[in-house]
Amino acid sequence: MRCAEFESRLNDVLDERLWLDSDPTLTAHVQHCRVCRELAASYEAMILGLEQSKVPAPSPAIAAGVLAALPGSCTGWDAPDVIRGPFRASPQAPAARRRLPGRRSTLLALAAAAAVGAIAVFWNTVAPDFRGPSDQANPIAARSNDSPATANVAVATSREEDLAAGADLSLPNAMAFFPGGASPTPSTSGGAAKTSSWMHDVSDGLKPVTSTTASAVTSFFELLAGNDEGSRS
């Protein structure tokens, strides 16, 4: 196996929520390729990191707000598909194969799902104007379907992304509402250009301080973090 194929295949394995050692080809490759071993370890670290992430505590007011905003016929569990989306049933791998952190508590997952559901309902009903296009590009959250630990991360990430999708909440947009507020479109006025030029001149003049400091900090922490040198086949 070549290194170029390794990452793709590793992703496939992780997509099924399996560890690296469930795939003999990958296991054999990392025996002799240090760089791919490091890569696999970094993926493993990422999964571990996700496990450690905490679920943000929802605001005490959110439950009341959601309940108050629910339409009479919609309970929040039978209406929006988005609630079930991230937690839909996933294909099961053979029981004999070692799995990524699995179900520890159905209750916990349900609680996490309830939180996501509440947030989803909130964003769909209470604040529909705040919603933007959803971000689908989160393979980690997607593959963490039924693992409580990673489901927690999914809750966190989903909430964060929902907030992020709120999205077009930008200061220029909001300020444009007020008298004298700037237009949300980028300003090309002479005044702004002059200010920018003035600031650029000053920051350019101080480059011997700022750039050398940045360089020293980066170099120092690179050393502290340790080397990751190597070459890939």
Partner: protein
């Protein structure tokens, strides 16, 4: 892997480790039992050589962070749309960095954070030598968990050994004490890191000489020199630390002197007559006149404050910088005329006359000279009047928006806003030293005559009225229904008092500001909780603004009409503005310039300081 890929990857890892540390500081972190923020100058400054160019210190940041994150401000920050968007975009990466940290150091970032960085830490940087790109750097850590610190150092050494980097250890003897120093390094970049632990003290430096100096300071080696050996003996550092709050969790001290040589060397590399060289000369002259710069960040549950101070020798500043500083410096007098229940306020100083005569007229002269070469007039009449008037305008100005109760007296269902506004501008004689009256007192009779003439000339059926009343020596004029623009009529009041021109939404609004006592104004330190006697001040009572906007939807309609927005767009932007305003209840931006140097403060708070009960008078 190419060099650039390798470098990029290592940079990402380095940044990641930093992010992991900061990302780890979530509410789950528990404050250490013994930790009471002590603030002030830390013992680590006694171990940092005095010629450091920059020092970043954290002091019980874990405790402060835990307190902050358990408070209401952090809850709002977590939901602040721009930050939430960033976290949403980078949440996966942060999680990965946390995992990477765990993998590399066999310790959860939270544990490392509270055990190693939860106490005091100092990171210092020195300017590089002329032939080097990276300057010396030093990290000192006063860990709470000695075993964890030693394990982390061992892990760094082990990682280096595993990755085939260079690694060795040696003993260093200084001041009669023996220290073991581990050396790890990158063979590719020929850089080394020297690590040592002494009890709970962790030391990391990228120069052997630096770690020797630190250990010599630790061993309290005697010295004969009079010059300060360490930061804690440096007068600039001592003076700077007296200015920031001892409660600051993070402090950044910049020592300008060590950087002077590098700045001048960079300036000499530029073409002598170039614009860049000219600007950089002014920047470096200002830098050389600066004794220190210090910034501090305070965090508590309901408030976050960033304060920055610089100290300079005013007489050593370039003339242009001194003129600009004097134009914006001094105390914003109108802060004392802004009521504490203001929803939004600005007060400041701009010496327009000085700016125009110092900068505007020379620029106009230069432009006129170039025009003259092409046969055009040597001066342009369009700037003569503003230039002549500029001397009499300012320097103090102020404006505020405050709530009031509409009295329902508006005719024909005209909109009455629950707001009153006041603006004020100080004026002076048109020439310095002139004993003639200030500009406002000269202009007031002219303005009054013009309005009276306009009233006489207007349609007698139109609801346009000009009325004046005398309040002591002050004549207050109320103008109702002035048809300045087609289809729109304006109602306002104005007055001139001691050379200050007042404009307001009603006579009562002006009267309230005129009669305001200092202790009931924004100038009260309790209210501002920030710099005293600022030169420029921006105050936003976000909670008051939110409540007003929610309670009076008509304000939205009015603003939408004023901006020419349709209803849907206006409502959406209104919601966006409210969402952004949820970040805090009060935001204060203050800037002060005086002989000692500039000072800056930004404070956001999740609670409005209690103010004495003040009834807003009804106003039209």
């Amino acid at each position: 892997m190419t060099h650039s890929q390798s470098g990029r990857r290592r940079s990402v890892i380095a940044v990641g480790l930093l992010l992991a540390l900061f990302g780890a500081s979530h509410p789950g972190i528990q404050a250490a039992e013994t930790a009471e923020p002590s603030g002030g100058i830390s013992a680590l400054a006694s171990l940092t050589p005095a010629d450091a160019g920059l020092a970043l210190e954290i002091d019980q940041l874990g405790d402060y962070a835990a307190r902050f994150m358990g408070g209401p401000l952090f809850q709002r920050l977590a939901g602040f749309p721009p930050l939430a968007r960033w976290v949403g975009q980078n949440g996966t990466r942060l999680a990965r960095f946390r995992g990477e940290f765990q993998r590399r150091f066999n310790a959860a970032p939270e544990k490392a954070w509270s055990g190693i960085f939860g106490g005091r830490a100092l990171f210092a940087v020195w300017p590089p030598a002329p032939d080097s790109q990276n300057g010396p750097a030093l990290l000192l850590v006063e860990a709470r968990d000695r075993e964890l610190l030693e394990a982390a150092v061992e892990r760094i050494v082990a990682l280096q050994r595993d990755s085939a980097g260079s690694q060795k250890s040696f003993s260093l003897s200084t001041g009669g004490q023996e220290y073991t120093v581990h050396v790890v390094g990158s063979q590719e970049k020929r850089e080394q890191l020297f690590l040592a632990t002494v009890g709970t003290l962790g030391i990391a430096a990228n120069r052997e000489e630096l770690i020797r100096r630190v250990l010599a300071l630790h061993a309290s080696e005697s010295h004969q020199e009079d010059a300060p050996r360490c930061l804690a003996e440096l007068p600039g550092y001592l003076a700077a630390n007296l200015r920031v709050s001892p409660e600051a969790a993070v402090r950044l001290f910049i020592n300008p002197r060590p950087w002077d040589q590098g700045l001048w060397a960079d300036w000499k590399r530029k073409p002598a007559e170039s614009h860049d060289a000219h600007v950089q000369k002014a920047v470096i002259d200002t830098w050389c006149a600066t004794d220190y710069v210090i910034a501090g960040l305070q965090l508590d549950g309901a408030r976050a404050t960033l304060e920055t101070y610089a100290a300079w020798k005013a007489e050593a500043l370039p003339q242009a910088v001194r003129d600009a500083a004097e134009s914006f410096g001094g105390t914003a007098e109108f802060a004392a005329k802004i009521p504490q229940d203001a929803l939004a306020a600005v007060a400041g100083r701009v010496d327009l006359g000085r700016l125009v005569w110092r900068f505007g007229l020379p620029a106009a002269r230069a432009a006129a000279s170039s025009n003259n070469e092409s046969g055009l007039s040597p001066w342009q009449p369009d700037w003569l009047l503003p230039a002549a008037l500029a001397q009499g305008i300012g320097p103090n100005f102020g404006a505020c928006l405050a709530p009031c109760t509409p009295d329902g007296s508006a005719a024909d269902g005209a909109l009455q806003l629950p707001l009153q506004w006041t603006a004020a501008l100080a004026t002076g004689p048109l020439e310095p030293g002139d004993r003639r009256p200030p500009l406002a007192e000269l202009a007031e009779p002219v303005l009054h005559s013009a309005l009276t003439a306009a009233q006489a000339a207007s349609d007698s059926n139109a609801a346009f009225a000009v009325k004046s009343l005398k309040l002591g020596d002050t004549r207050m004029t109320s103008v109702v229904g002035l048809p300045l623009v087609a289809d729109r009529r304006f109602t306002f009041a104005y007055a001139v008092e001691n050379g200050r021109f007042w404009l307001g939404s009603s006579p009562l609004a002006i009267r309230r500001s005129l009669d305001l006592a200092v202790e009931d104004s924004l100038a009260s330190p309790r209210q501002l909780q920030t710099l005293k006697q600022p030169s420029q001040l921006l105050y936003l009572n976000l909670r008051g603004l939110r409540e007003t906007l929610r309670a009076y939807p008509a304000v939205v309609e009015f603003l939408a009409a004023a901006k020419g927005l349709d209803r849907g767009v206006a409502q959406r932007r209104f919601q966006e503005a409210l969402a952004l305003g949820e970040l805090a209840d009060v935001a204060v931006l203050a800037f002060r310039l005086d002989e000692s140097g500039p000072a800056f403060s930004l404070s956001i708070s999740a609670e409005v300081p209690a103010s004495p009960s003040m009834e807003a008078p009804d106003a039209r």
